[in-house]
Symmetry: D3
Subunit: 323 residues, 6 copies
């Protein structure tokens, strides 16, 4: 089957403010059939421990993604020429019952995988990544590596007594469930005060490589990303981009801001250096529009999504099955 | 041909913040074929003399229209049960050249009329109403009546020297062109300081009935709307709702705010009393999101659009041709 | 035991922006012991179907309540001279698990009742009222009457499939549980489009008196409140004030705004006319600061809380036990 | 000497957003010489007890006054045709030392009076009115009457121990100093909780007529303004318009908001009914831009200023000396 | 003729929030006669393809420029001591007809040149630079060099079919018209996704030197500016500063934001290194206040204007004629 | 006496949005008795020459400090385990009379010192630091060293004629009064245009070491802080952190923003390098919430306060008396 190379509406023909709002101004399609990469929204924030609002993330990232054009000015990648990409809409997740919501998300992503597409999703809070990882790992039949851009490790055990599922715990659960390989996890940009001086002990004991912002500042994107390639290797990898990895002056619209974060320039540089990894899925999470200022965070999220799309499109020649 | 009774996505099933953003959460369709009423955006504000921004109106009215449900709590009208309604998208109007833009708008609306649907549009600035009136009047082969809710008469002659087409002049042009019947025009809510004490002389000389806000306050919605029915009669009528008719505390997102305006309660009451008129088209204009506060203006616009939809749906039994 | 007549910090002595932020600038106390009326926050919005944020309500209502002074300029009531009132803090409700949260709220209010105080709470979304009613009804051993100011009836059956507990269902549940007497319920200010023309059929069949905004506009506060007294009678009554009863121009910070609402002037007039009812508890709910504009909604909420406090203080002579 | 009838820049010729920002787009002049009415800013808020910011009022009122046109649509008054009006700039008042600031304001206004012009000023907090009254009363050699639109009586004795000069005390001081005649003072729109039930005892004992918002709501603008004429009579009168008389939904940008206020429509109606009084000066105070939303308060202030200008222009035939 | 060394109002004498708002608090003058450098606003954004609003730029840059003082803390330049500078107001450009507007701008700047002053303007969108370049080039009788700080090359051919004049095309037109020498053009800060991978082919073929943000990050301000001097040489040069060259976290108020931009620190460093060039005019464009946050973008624009003023003042000894 | 090691409320047990708002979620206590470090608010901005608002600083810094956790992720310091820390509330300073206010502040801090605690305060404008320095210097009986992070030197002589006390003059006064040792003062981050090229002449003549932002950019945090240690030495030192030292994109809520400032990452690095100094008190000043965006500035202020707390807690073993 020849896949359709969907193209965005051209802003030099139709103004950016016109037309229905879709990711990257791509066509809205009913399913992932025939796609290499499925852009999908997961409007759910039921795992949020402080300021909710990421449920509104997909809508605003769609709006701001109207500012994206067709090619990457630095790498020269034109993703729509090398991969079939479209907007498959939002997963219909209800906001009331957490356990049902996790099932709804997993089923939605599983359906995308079953059609041979790789998901590039927009959350939603960071707990949405757990059911996404479940679906992809099941589809591939193996644990995944993880490149995580984040202010927080998100490997805590529980909150508010005995709640095991919050946006502060997904990667602990994923390791426990065997869907992530802890030896192939890198977390970049971690910072902010901690509950206890040894809060990251468990994560480090599992083998997770934590790159604190201070180390990042010292060593820079190139050196860090070289290490990322060494750790992740050739196996299937998932990339999760928590928008709070970015400094709150550049991404204020998020639930748990921590000052002293990555600049968008640094983040873009790192995402481009993901090139060569076998990326089986990716997401941008924790964009919370009620706390955003002038759409700035949604624009940063949309641009990171475009950068992720470019590196994912590069890898499309490799089938998900071979991953 | 049996028409499809498109239904909105039910907010009791899929949360309002999920899914692509369309007018009233109705399906996005490619053309007006098979529709009784076509919801359409006209994202253009090139006629604006002060603060532009209404070009962004359709997108935000779509977003806020996700708060609308299926039936009118007061009149009991369920528009989607009695009329075929869908979102036909935005007219692709370029923002640079005014005369071309007016042609693009007229052609877009003419296509809707040609398919037998009545347009219910969201602007855009008030100059967009001129090409809409041109298209409908041509389709019907006769001049139209006009019910205009507005802070301003918009019957000035020209601006900035000799510019005849601005959002302050559409109804003067429409009368000159013979597409509006001045004896069947009512303007409600007019207020604000004026360029000259006799600024409305021309309009009154044509036979336009101007209801200033002070008279409205004295007499109330019921009495005013009875007069509207008397003036408009049974012939085809267009309803134009400039959001600046509403008080700026309730609709701050507009280009030329005037304090002391209609309350939304008063406006809703009046729109419901349009029932019985032969409405061949309607619009909501001058919603300017860059000046809005928390989506308040877009929500007011979306609700006025829903009220207009309800009274238009009532009239669907009468074909456009018989109008 | 002589109760302490706690007094607010005087803004003519210490500026309003100084000092810890408590409800009405009253002392923060550890328990309701010795209080007639306990001011309490319920920062939880897990029942919200659209825009969350009411979890932040108590903090901002506290901040804005610093604008309240000691006496009611119209009724002359000085509540702190006739009742013992203080701020007992927030209930510690976790945001992740809905059923646990409902239990935590009920237990917290039950503790206040057990100490002989009447709760005046600030939500939180409207589902918080359900466990509050459970606690008070159990303490009194009888069903309660209800005066509800609201844009929505909140008597739907379920959402998103089969979720029985959301902020759109509390009063249906309360009637089913026998903690509200449907013949002693009045809902005022109801409006907005509905899911179906007969959406309120169930409520009306139970005997609930619904006063739509249109009827209210026709008849006015005095007449409506006379009917409220006739319906509620001398038995114990709860007053719930959903801030979305107020027009969104005056209270934009809420999850489900509906235009055409009550003015604050109308609402204040009605709350003062509650005088004489046997009010065993009250709340202000659905203040959602992330959607507020300049604290306007929180200020409206704080003022409504003060008006409720004044009429509750009047009734303090009647013990809860005798209710 | 023939006075120059300065005209505003015409918005139909030069867009409102162009050109230097002056009151009403009038010329900026160096002194009040040759003027009948001097528009002047008093950017000072050192008397503010809670939220400062009115120091920025003149600049934003100037900006929003660009929306004003040349004539009053309701009364037909074209002020620039019957009076010489211009913008004399701001008084240069330092923000650090209160007593010096009061002197600077008095001297500035005295200079305007000495040139035969009547001041129409924009504050600044309400304490600015005290030195303005001092200057005018001295120039006229007699106490003045006062029409005060306000949420607060501003007749308290002192704050924070023994500070006699704050924005809550100006009219007590003015009465004590003999520059206001308490029998010719009317305060309209008073509301909000009070420090004590008898807080207004002193004011009433002096003979001040207080029209609370509740009485206003009952009786309406026409009846109240008839009483104002009876009380004020033919003597010289000052009109002070505290923007907090307006409801905070329409004028959020102020230091001490009180819900339940006047609508702008009601206020405009009342200001027009000032016609016939001998107005020797007027002001709009307490517009605090840092708390404003979208310029809404400054626009309300600018429009009230225009309404005041219209009634003052009517009275220009009567010289200040004869007042 | 001895020129007047106009001085700004001293903020240590008159508070910054007081007085009429002019560029740098300099006197407003009627013409450029006697000036070395004329500060002028061009409030027009009719060439904007996406979000309009730059028409409001001059007013807000004037407001924020009240924060500027008299001397450059780093270079020690006190521009008002070495050059005659004043605010000549805004060009009166109408917003409706694009071709007329371009003529109005060119005529306005030509008048300034004819009086021997160099223009330092504030836009307005980037299309305003085209008529400015026309006027200056004509006055000098030769093509100019260009130092352009920008996120976008603005050398596209046309938009929306065949519109040759938009804010994405000015420098292509200027080269075609022979008023810019493409071999003497440097563009710095270019970034963001592109319409096609070879979008900048035409520009590069003309000889334009494009410094993408990635190269800038690698090499730094000093090295880049050394190359600028080599390319521009001793001939007359124009400096255009598009505020979107700055990162959107520091300059959110613009029509086409691109993340990953210059910091203000980097930009200030580069502007100071313009010292020694023969700058015959300069501008700051694309400040769009409706999208600004707290005046941050206008403040950045005002500061860049001050930095440009300092380097232009240095060059005043060289007459325009000798350029 | 064994001191109580007060602990913050744990956000993993009680959500951050719940409970009364105190600094760091620590207990609110009545006095500094038994504390090593007293967190205290100074809500006063009467020394502000431009935009007031810092009076609201303590409240919003408290709110945002709810995002702080228990330990420093980089240094490993857990301040509450090694020092007794609590929130002693705000000093009750009246906003009307400057000289009285300075006395009230000095007395409030003197009381804290008398109880053996070191103050870590949140302003308030920078003039609040003067009476704080007076109190501490008197308590210690010697002049202090000063590490000042700031955009401005704040060593001017007077404003608006002869006002010696403004937020632009505190350190000149402190040197004149002998409470600061000018040879032990370092100012870091100074920038922005100046009143005169030699504006800092007096400061440098006294021996103050000024590190302009340009020098800082060249040399970096480590080198600068090494010099700080050399200059300050072992004697008692005060650290004052003016939030305007941070770039306005990261800290917009301040009265006198200057672009080109420190990043929060740079600031955090420097504060951690204060380790080893004998810090007898510290403050964060000039956080002005009315100009803040989304609480970003208050969050930066709260985080800087936490960093200061960490280095102060390290030094607690050394008694104030021995300092």
């Amino acid at each position: 089957m020849t896949k359709t190379r969907h193209q965005p509406i051209d802003a030099a023909l139709v103004p950016r403010f016109a037309g229905h709002s879709t990711f990257m101004r791509l066509p809205a399609v009913d399913s992932a059939a025939g796609l290499d990469i499925a852009l999908v929204g997961i409007p759910w924030d039921g795992g949020t421990t402080n300021r909710a609002g990421a449920r509104h993330g997909p809508r605003e990232v769609r709006n701001q993604s109207s500012l994206m054009r067709r090619a990457n000015h630095q790498t020269g990648i034109a993703p729509y020429d090398i991969a079939s990409v479209a907007d498959v809409g939002d997963l219909a997740v209800q906001p009331i019952d957490l356990m049902s919501a996790l099932r709804q998300i997993e089923e939605g992503i599983a359906a995308i995988c079953a059609q041979g597409a790789r998901p590039l999703s927009v959350g939603g809070d960071h707990l949405t990544t757990l059911p996404v990882l479940r679906a992809i790992s099941k589809a591939l039949g193996k644990p995944l590596g993880l490149v995580q851009f984040d202010a927080h490790s998100d490997t805590n055990d529980s909150y508010f007594g005995d709640n095991p599922y919050t946006h502060g715990t997904p990667f602990r659960r994923a390791i426990e469930e065997g869907i992530l390989d802890p030896a192939r996890i890198v977390q970049i940009g971690i910072r902010g005060s901690v509950y206890a001086a040894d809060e990251h002990r468990w994560a480090k004991d599992q083998g997770i490589r934590i790159v604190y912002i201070e180390e990042f500042s010292e060593r820079g994107p190139a050196e860090i990303m070289a290490e990322v390639h060494a750790i992740i290797g050739a196996g299937p990898a998932y990339v999760t981009f928590d928008i709070d990895s970015i400094d709150p002056s550049m991404a204020p619209g998020t639930g748990t801001p921590e000052i002293g974060g990555l600049t968008t320039r640094e983040a873009q540089t790192m995402l481009r250096l993901l090139s060569g990894l076998n990326i089986v899925g990716a997401d941008v999470v924790e964009v919370a529009p009620p706390f955003d200022l002038g759409g700035m965070t949604a624009l940063a999220g949309a641009t990171m999504m475009f950068e992720l799309l470019c590196v994912m499109a590069e890898g499309v020649g490799q089938s998900v099955a071979s991953a």
